[in-house]
């Protein structure tokens, strides 16, 4: 099983460039065996934005041999690009090449290891489908198949989560600066991924709306530095005999220093019971104790925590 997992993970995260001749062979086989449509030329674009712009231009009548020049003209003018994308919101294709590896891995294992037998005709179709994992996204149009290259770079942390500190976690070649910023598998804004911990400003923390992104901010900023330097501890799990408050190391801190014009801003500090990562989240200013804060988290309900994960 692990051999198959490794094989298909590697296919899924492959950054190999596409060979045009091989791409045409795969696309035409896919059209013939799976889509059961006619074989068409193939246009290879560098990234998903380029791919989508090409699709829009082609469906609006641009000739195939003019697409590359037209595409470059669109990308040279940001306003033109923004308008095109606004008027034609990108659609994610149902066949997404290497990103489909997880699905194909299931069939690969069943056929090769568990002896699942399928008819020759179906096997031919399966092979044509399976081979599309060598490509990027696929946009099938009537007269042409637009495909995209796979990512140019991909970075992961030790747990295999998309991650890069100080640079994009994922980049594509080509126009449009297609970059993805991610810390420990959480998609974060560019400023957070690129900043070094010393340049992070705590006022930025309070403006982040997403709890996972806030957690990545805390992780990068340092929870001790954040709480000890800018906060004041108000209450702690040590004052109570509550099993899950202790396991999660609940504490209540006043973090008013991160808000302008706010004299009291209680925040609950807690540890993720599964990962050990710290979370710091705001509660209502009426909260004076942990009991108040936890009740506030529950929408005013008085619950006893029976389990946390």
């Amino acid at each position: 099983m692990s051999v198959y997992a490794e094989k298909w993970v590697n296919t899924g995260i492959s950054t190999d460039r596409i060979n045009p001749a091989r791409a045409k062979e795969i696309v035409n086989a896919y059209q013939r065996e799976v889509l059961q449509t006619k074989e068409t030329p193939v246009i290879i674009t560098n990234n998903p934005i380029e791919g989508w712009v090409a699709v829009v231009l082609l469906t609006k009548g641009t000739a195939m041999d003019k697409v590359q020049n037209e595409m470059e003209a669109v990308f040279q003018n940001k306003k033109t690009l923004d308008t095109l994308l606004k008027n034609n919101p990108p659609v994610y294709p149902y066949q997404d090449g290497s990103f489909y590896s997880s699905i194909i891995s299931f069939y690969d294992f069943m056929i090769n290891e568990l002896g699942v037998e399928i008819e020759d005709d179906l096997m031919k179709r399966y092979r044509a489908w399976s081979d599309t994992t060598e490509l990027g996204l696929m946009f099938p149009l009537d007269e042409v198949m637009v495909i995209t290259e796979k990512p140019l770079t991909l970075n992961f942390n030790e747990e295999g989560q998309l991650h890069a500190d100080g640079k994009p976690a994922m980049t594509y070649a080509g126009m449009g600066e297609f970059e993805v910023y991610s810390l420990n598998g959480v998609r974060v804004p560019k400023w957070l991924a690129m900043a070094n911990e010393g340049s992070l400003d705590l006022s930025q923390y309070s403006k982040i709306e997403n709890a996972d992104v806030r957690t990545e901010f805390v992780r990068k900023f340092g929870v001790e530095r954040m709480m000890e330097s800018y906060g004041k501890k108000l209450d702690t799990f040590e004052n109570y005999n509550e099993e899950w408050w202790t396991k999660s190391e609940y504490e209540l801190w006043d973090m008013n220093a991160i808000f302008e014009g706010v004299s009291y801003a209680p925040h609950l500090k807690m540890k993720n019971a599964t990962t050990g990562v710290w979370h710091v989240e705001a509660v209502h200013p009426s909260c004076q104790t942990l009991e108040d804060a936890i009740r506030d988290r529950f929408g005013g309900r008085d619950f006893r925590i029976a389990a946390i994960a």
């Binding site: 599964t274 705001a282 506030d296 988290r297 619950f303 925590i305 389990a307 946390i308 994960a309």
Partner: protein
């Protein structure tokens, strides 16, 4: 008085409840139901759905579950939150709240 219990799975709260008379059955076309979605990681909180596990929705959108067999609340990628068992009963799902000091209001925690 003994407090009602709650199980916390990330920002998701699950607690014993009663099924409102006006709640209507939900059609689940998958082997799980997403009870809290994740926009940044895709690591939704889900409850395994199979025979004996039925979901309902109240008019205000609150989701309930009536299960005659144990099921689990888990994450799509289980490395972020361990799976927890939900014993037979009637359960209500909710999202923990946080306070926004800019808008001076509560909001559901989003991840």
């Amino acid at each position: 008085m003994e407090k009602n219990k709650v199980i916390l799975h990330g920002e998701c709260m699950v607690f014993p409840s009663e099924l409102p008379a006006e709640a209507t059955p939900m059609v689940v076309n998958s082997d799980y139901l997403i009870v809290a979605d994740s926009e940044t990681t895709g690591n939704h909180h889900v409850v395994d759905a199979f025979e004996g596990v039925n979901f309902f929705q109240a008019k205000n959108g609150t989701v309930f579950m009536k299960n005659s067999r144990p099921t689990r609340i888990r994450c799509v990628m289980e490395n972020r939150h361990d799976a927890l068992s939900l014993e037979p009963g009637v359960w209500e799902f909710g999202i923990q709240q946080e306070y926004d000091y800019f808008s001076d209001s509560h909001r559901a925690v989003q991840d």
